[in-house]
Symmetry: C2
Amino acid sequence: MATERSFLDRPQGTREEIMNATYYALCEHGYADLTIQRIGEHFGKSKSLLYHHYDGKDDLLLDFLGFMLDEVEQSIPKTISEDAHIHLITIIDRIFLNVGQDQGQEFEKAMVELRAQAAHDSRYQEYFTEHDRFFKHRLIDLIEMGIENGTFREVDPDRVVSFLMAICDGTRTCRTTSNATAIRAIRDELETYIDTRLLVDSRED
Amino acid sequence: MATERSFLDRPQGTREEIMNATYYALCEHGYADLTIQRIGEHFGKSKSLLYHHYDGKDDLLLDFLGFMLDEVEQSIPKTISEDAHIHLITIIDRIFLNVGQDQGQEFEKAMVELRAQAAHDSRYQEYFTEHDRFFKHRLIDLIEMGIENGTFREVDPDRVVSFLMAICDGTRTCRTTSNATAIRAIRDELETYIDTRLLVDSRED
């Protein structure tokens, strides 16, 4: 999720300004310490607007997550490259491995915390199910495209994509909650997996 | 973490009784809604003992996590099987994929929540770094054993183990926070990965 997003630089209208404030407050405080009051500190207009629109921080955060998913859906082009392999690596690097700046890392930490809310809050679980469904479909389309044009082997796209998504989720968990030194090793092994499992013409290692 | 643990069935002494109460309270309430008071409801002795021993719920939970890691370290035999492949599959099934009962699922949800605390609490991050280090070393030993006795190919154990651990973490995240239908697909693809990447004598699919 390291794409350029206009609502971060130039929010248009009240809703984008609220989303902007929520993003920066999440990066600064994380989920547990976030309050509507603290979101208000990043918001240029009256805080009473926030209390008027939302029934508490989770209500606001769920709206924010929906907004972010819409943003991502629009910002990821269906076709980045004619080459399905390059396309796949680009998506993995941009979306899942989040090789970003400090701000991106703070946002990723907050996302791991928000995702954990889904363990006991069905509204968050609905959101992340929808989130995963979107990425799964996009990736399955891509694997199918690669199979059709002879770049990828005749794998079961659902299996391979579920596996890729688990690796990316696990990478995110590792980077945000444990020692991040494993990330390079995971990334290298992921390339080997893609080369040996997917590519018809595997490169020499 | 679906091994039999005596402190769950027959806690011995006050500390094990506290750990027992913490386990069941975590399964019942999850992290966010957990309080010392609620742990006390699962504890046979005076609740004041809990307040005496611990400075709040995080202090108690960190002690609990340390206790659980000691339990796991003792309960996982270094050698389950002479066959490194069977050993690996057994560990993955027992420890990471947690094909357990409802109680196991509730505990796994709580663990995902506790892990997310590490995003902003260095005490949890220290614990999960230690937790990951333990499993990583155990798995690297196993991969090296398999390479030495000719079961596994000459892979880089650190890379393969980091990758396997990311898959298992991602599987846990998926199962607890999103639609769990992907789990079977991830497990099937994991077997294919192990067969094609690790095994010298790959089975026919």
